[in-house]
C-alpha cells in the first residue's frame, strides 16, 4: 500500500475510533552504493527503508505508535496502539499539534533509479580516468552513491506536507606513480539529476589534482601568508 492510501486508511481508522487530534509522519528512502575496481563492481549495497509514526492527543496527553508496514490492518493497529499509549502515559508536559493549515506536494521524481545504467557509467568512468594520463596507474576509489528520499507529515489540523529529494554523488581518487613515489588526488561531484553528472569534467579534475602534485616538495614549518581557494 502506498503512503497516500495508507494515510486515508489511518484517517478512517481514527474517525472510527472517535480520535480527533493526531498526526502522521512518514519517511521512505532508498540508497545505493557502487564501487568499481579494475573493470568490475567490487562493492555494491542497496538499502530500502520505510517508516511511519503516528501521534495522537487524548485529554492533553500524547500517545505514539510506529510501523514499517503500510496496510489496512496496520493502519487500524497504529491508531489503536497510539490511543492505548496515550491512556497509559503519565507525562504531564503540555503537548500540541501544529495548528496552522498548510499543504505542499512536490513534483514526482523525474526518473526511477536504474542500477544497470549506473554500473555502466561507473565502469566507463574508471576506464576513462585510467586512460587520461599514463602516470595515473590505479584508482583508490571510484564510487557512485545515489538515493531518493520522501518525507511527509500530515495532521488533523490541515497540515499536509510532502518533501522529495534525490541525489547522485560520484567520487574519484586517482593514484599516480613517478620516480618511485605515489601521489593521491581526488574529486567528487554531486547532482540532483542523473543527466547533470559530467564524466569528463570529473575525470579531468580528479586526474589534474593528482598529477599536479608530482614533484611536490615538503615545506619548512613556519608562519606563512596563506591563500585559501574555493575550488
Amino acid at each position: 500500500m502506498e503512503y497516500a492510501d495508507f494515510r486515508l486508511a489511518v484517517e478512517a481508522a481514527a474517525k472510527e475510533k472517535g480520535l480527533e487530534k493526531y498526526e502522521l509522519y512518514y519517511s521512505k528512502s532508498r540508497s545505493q552504493s557502487l564501487n568499481a575496481f579494475e573493470g568490475q563492481i567490487d562493492r555494491f549495497s542497496l538499502s530500502d527503508s520505510i517508516g511511519v509514526c503516528f501521534r495522537c492527543l487524548m485529554e492533553g496527553k500524547a500517545g505514539y505508535a510506529s510501523t514499517e508496514k503500510m496496510s489496512q490492518e496496520e493502519a487500524v493497529r497504529l491508531v489503536e496502539s497510539a490511543m492505548e499509549s496515550a491512556r497509559l502515559v503519565e507525562n504531564k508536559d503540555p503537548e500540541f499539534l501544529v495548528e496552522e493549515s498548510c499543504s505542499f506536494t512536490p513534483s514526482a521524481f523525474s526518473e526511477e533509479a536504474d542500477t544497470e545504467r549506473e554500473i555502466q557509467l561507473l565502469l566507463e568512468t574508471e576506464k576513462k580516468a585510467l586512460s587520461l594520463d599514463p602516470r595515473v596507474t590505479k584508482l583508490g576509489s571510484c564510487a557512485l552513491l545515489s538515493g531518493q528520499e520522501e518525507k511527509g507529515i500530515f495532521n488533523s489540523n490541515g497540515v499536509d506536507l510532502l518533501d522529495r529529494n534525490q541525489y547522485y554523488c560520484r567520487y574519484l581518487d586517482p593514484i599516480a606513480e613517478e620516480g618511485g613515489r605515489t601521489y593521491n588526488g581526488m574529486a567528487f561531484e554531486i547532482a540532483r539529476e542523473y543527466q547533470q553528472l559530467d564524466t569528463q569534467a570529473l575525470i579531468k579534475k580528479a586526474v589534474d589534482s593528482t598529477v599536479e602534485a608530482i614533484g611536490a616538495k615538503r615545506l619548512a614549518s613556519g608562519q606563512y601568508p596563506v591563500v585559501l581557494d574555493c575550488r
Binding site: K217, Q223, P225
Partner: protein
Amino acid sequence: MTGEFNFSVAEGYLVRNGEICEPVRGASLIGKGSEILMNIDMVSDNLAMAQGMCGSQSGSVPTNVGQPLIRVSEITVGGRE
C-alpha cells in the same frame, strides 16, 4: 569547542610574485578559527557556492557552502623540521 584546528593540506602550492609555483606536500594548517577570521586581509570577488549533503547515521540534510578566494596574513604551517 575551542575553535582550534589542524588540517592536512590536500592540495597546495607555493606562490611567488603572484604566480602559482611548485606544489607542496605533507603540509598542515594549524590555528584557531576566530583568529584566522580576524587575519583575513584580502578577499576575492569570485564567491562560489556549492550544494552537498551533510549526513550521519541519523540521516542526511542538504547543505549549501562556499567562499571567495581569501588571503590570511599569517597561519602556522606545519611541514618539515
